[in-house]
Subunit: 425 residues, 2 copies
């Protein structure tokens, strides 16, 4: 497919602006549709994607062949590759999103004034959402479906490695959505692979309402540095698990092993373990990690627990390893744990393991992260695990509000998770 720029002489920025204006127009129509009509259109989209299996897998095979020829790593090729089972799972995810309750129209609060005015706050769509992502073609479908379910238009910009796959998936989605009455421009794919298109999206304040980057730290950092449009994202998950003096040793062992090693590469993985100096069983805590092949990097007191622990450098306390590596510090009580987290955390997810209810409540109250847990694995940081059905990403930004902004508008929220030792299977 030739880009508009190639055929019309339009600049990349002009192409992005034109697509964004068309997306905004389509979003107005989408928002005026009933919730059931939007859900029905997503069911059509899921069916259309299943029906397009041959086309999508052929396009994907071309992407994979080109990627292999261009020397993509095996990890990147695996993220790129689709097969019948993976494609069916993508279609199933769209169908599942269609069945999620629609937040649009929900009345958040209602008040009557002494003069008889009745005030309500209701949820409305954000508007046009730009999604900038890398090699996973499933994002094309997932992100578009989440946007449409909540009445938002989507402007998608995927990675060049997956360009053929994305075009094939996008074509099937749009065919299904249109059959369900959604305007074609409600979900658009930026047609040019020119990197300037991402820059143009990031600068499109007033045309694009929000940008969601989906990809590695390099992509998110670029988006956060350049964007004039609000960004929903997290840069890093430097997550801490704190083993309090009153932790139950069996829970602590299971939680820490799961929090690091279940999938070391996810953003909810624990990256730093804080062990209280008076915790009675530090060796039993670390032994299963070492046995599982986890590299431990500790401060001097941590290294005294086990000789296999390597010395931690100054950077280790600020590192998101996304690998089977864990930094370990020994702390003197809750205050020192809180201070360490305040100094080194990334406000993503932190957990305390303890049987002391007062210590747990103080940790839940004072840790300033988007997610704070008690007696549970940080790997639960996930929209599906939270019962939200699906997620567009995890955001560590703080809240905006609108309308007359008073005290409530000066606040934001965090998730508190109260557990009893659960680990994620």
């Amino acid at each position: 497919m030739a880009s508009a720029a190639e055929t019309t002489g339009e600049s990349v920025a002009e192409t992005v602006a034109r697509l964004a204006r068309a997306g905004r127009e389509a979003q107005r129509a989408l928002a005026a549709m009933s919730s059931e009509a939007r859900a029905g259109a997503l069911r059509h989209a899921a069916t259309a994607l299943r029906d397009a299996e041959t086309t999508v897998l052929a396009a994907n095979a071309e992407d994979c062949a080109a990627g292999a020829a261009n020397g993509l790593s095996s990890a990147m090729l695996d993220r790129l590759r689709l097969d019948p089972a993976r494609l069916a799972a993508i279609a199933d995810a769209i169908a599942a999103i269609a069945e999620l309750p629609d937040p649009v129209g929900e009345i958040i609060d209602r008040r009557q004034r002494p003069n008889g005015l009745v005030l309500e706050r209701v949820r409305i769509p954000v508007g046009l959402i730009g999604i900038v992502y890398e090699s996973r073609p499933n994002v094309t479908a997932d992100a578009a479906a989440l946007c449409v379910r909540a009445g938002n238009a989507a402007l998608l910009r995927g990675g060049s490695e997956a360009a053929r796959s994305n075009r094939a998936i996008h074509a099937a989605l749009v065919e299904g959505l249109v059959a369900g009455g959604v305007p074609a421009d409600a979900v658009q794919l930026v047609p040019t692979q020119d990197r300037a298109a991402v820059g143009a999206m990031l600068q499109a304040a007033g045309l694009i309402d929000m940008i969601v980057p989906r990809g590695g730290k390099g992509l998110v950092a670029r988006v956060q540095a350049e964007a004039r449009v609000p960004v929903l994202a997290h840069l890093e998950g430097i997550n801490h698990t704190y083993i309090h003096a009153a932790a139950d040793p069996a829970k602590a062992r299971a939680i820490v092993l799961n929090a690091k090693m279940r999938r070391p590469g996810v953003c909810g993985a624990t990256e730093t373990l804080l062990v209280d100096a008076t915790y009675p069983d530090p060796h039993g805590l670390l032994e299963p990690l070492l046995e599982a092949g986890c590299e431990l990097r500790g401060d001097a007191r941590a290294r005294a627990i086990d000789p296999r622990i390597l010395p931690a450098g100054a950077n280790d306390w600020d590192s998101e390893y996304l690998d089977a590596v864990l930094s370990v510090a020994v702390v003197d009580g809750l205050d020192q744990a809180l201070a360490h987290i305040a100094a080194h955390g990334s406000q993503h997810t932190e957990a305390i393991v303890t049987e002391d209810a007062d210590a747990a409540e103080r940790f839940l109250r004072e840790v300033d992260s988007a997610i704070v847990m008690h007696n549970a694995s940080t790997q639960f940081a996930d929209g599906g695990e939270f019962g939200l059905g699906a997620e567009i990403g995890i955001a560590t930004g703080r809240l905006h509000a609108r309308g007359p902004v008073a005290l409530e508008g000066l606040t934001t929220y965090k998730w508190l998770v109260r557990g009893a030792g659960q680990i994620r299977p």
Copy 2:
């Protein structure tokens, strides 16, 4: 008072960063205080400000004298000037903010997962809030008090015309807050009047959590253009009142006159009147405005209603007059009214006047503004009138969310106001 930069050789950016770090540290302590302790500290601050009357009024007299010598306009001098009654009102406002319910700690929702995990979302402070404002010294007290009530630290940067007044008010506030147990750095005033300090605040992503500009369009536009920190603001209030075919003429006359002329210079004032072509009494609608001295600028059909209406230029549909000037367009039905608002509105406040419930509901649903009203004056767009006690500003931005973001995080909200012809006294 010499600025830190003048005495230490520190750059302006370094000064702002140092203040911001101190503010963040103080905010952690403030957030750990009980709600009642924060309220008590604000009562102390109100008392301290009353006790400092002589000092504050003397400083203000110096500012006013310097302003007059520097040729400030009489309007600006009036905004700058304090007297015993105005200062008492400022102290009363602080005391009133102390009595407002504290949103911090409020549980927004709660769910239990099949695995026994219990999830809650609770409100927390935003963090360190930067306030950038112009010549009104009352902002120093109002904004600081609102921030502190919700557990936020404030970094204040007022206009140079009010520098002495702001320093005197700030000193009194901090004396009272400290007496109430709040760390002194919870409310800081940027000590230098160097304009680069504003730029440094706007760039301080990661140090300042949110910027609130309080002032004219020039200030807000600069803040929105330069800020790397999220901004809570509105640039303009190009507000529309639409008189539907089925409007009650008596309500319509009273609402429109109030919406424009009660205070033409506030952001909630109506700037464009849309009159349905089939509305039965257009002349009776416009006559009271003309009698009250309002200049009307209309399209060809509006001008046919009354010869005193001037021709509107192309810019009039996109102008926030903030004055006794109103643009008037005749529209053919609700669709055309909605299209005009979508094309020219600023997503601040729009109103429909009608006795047709279906038309009203469609207007409330389809107008994409922060505030949408039925049968009420747009001048009600105000936190006090909404029963919020006070406001830090009116925001037209769209929402961010945090934690695992799913459908709900893809939505934002608007205020719906249902009335029966109320006008603001």
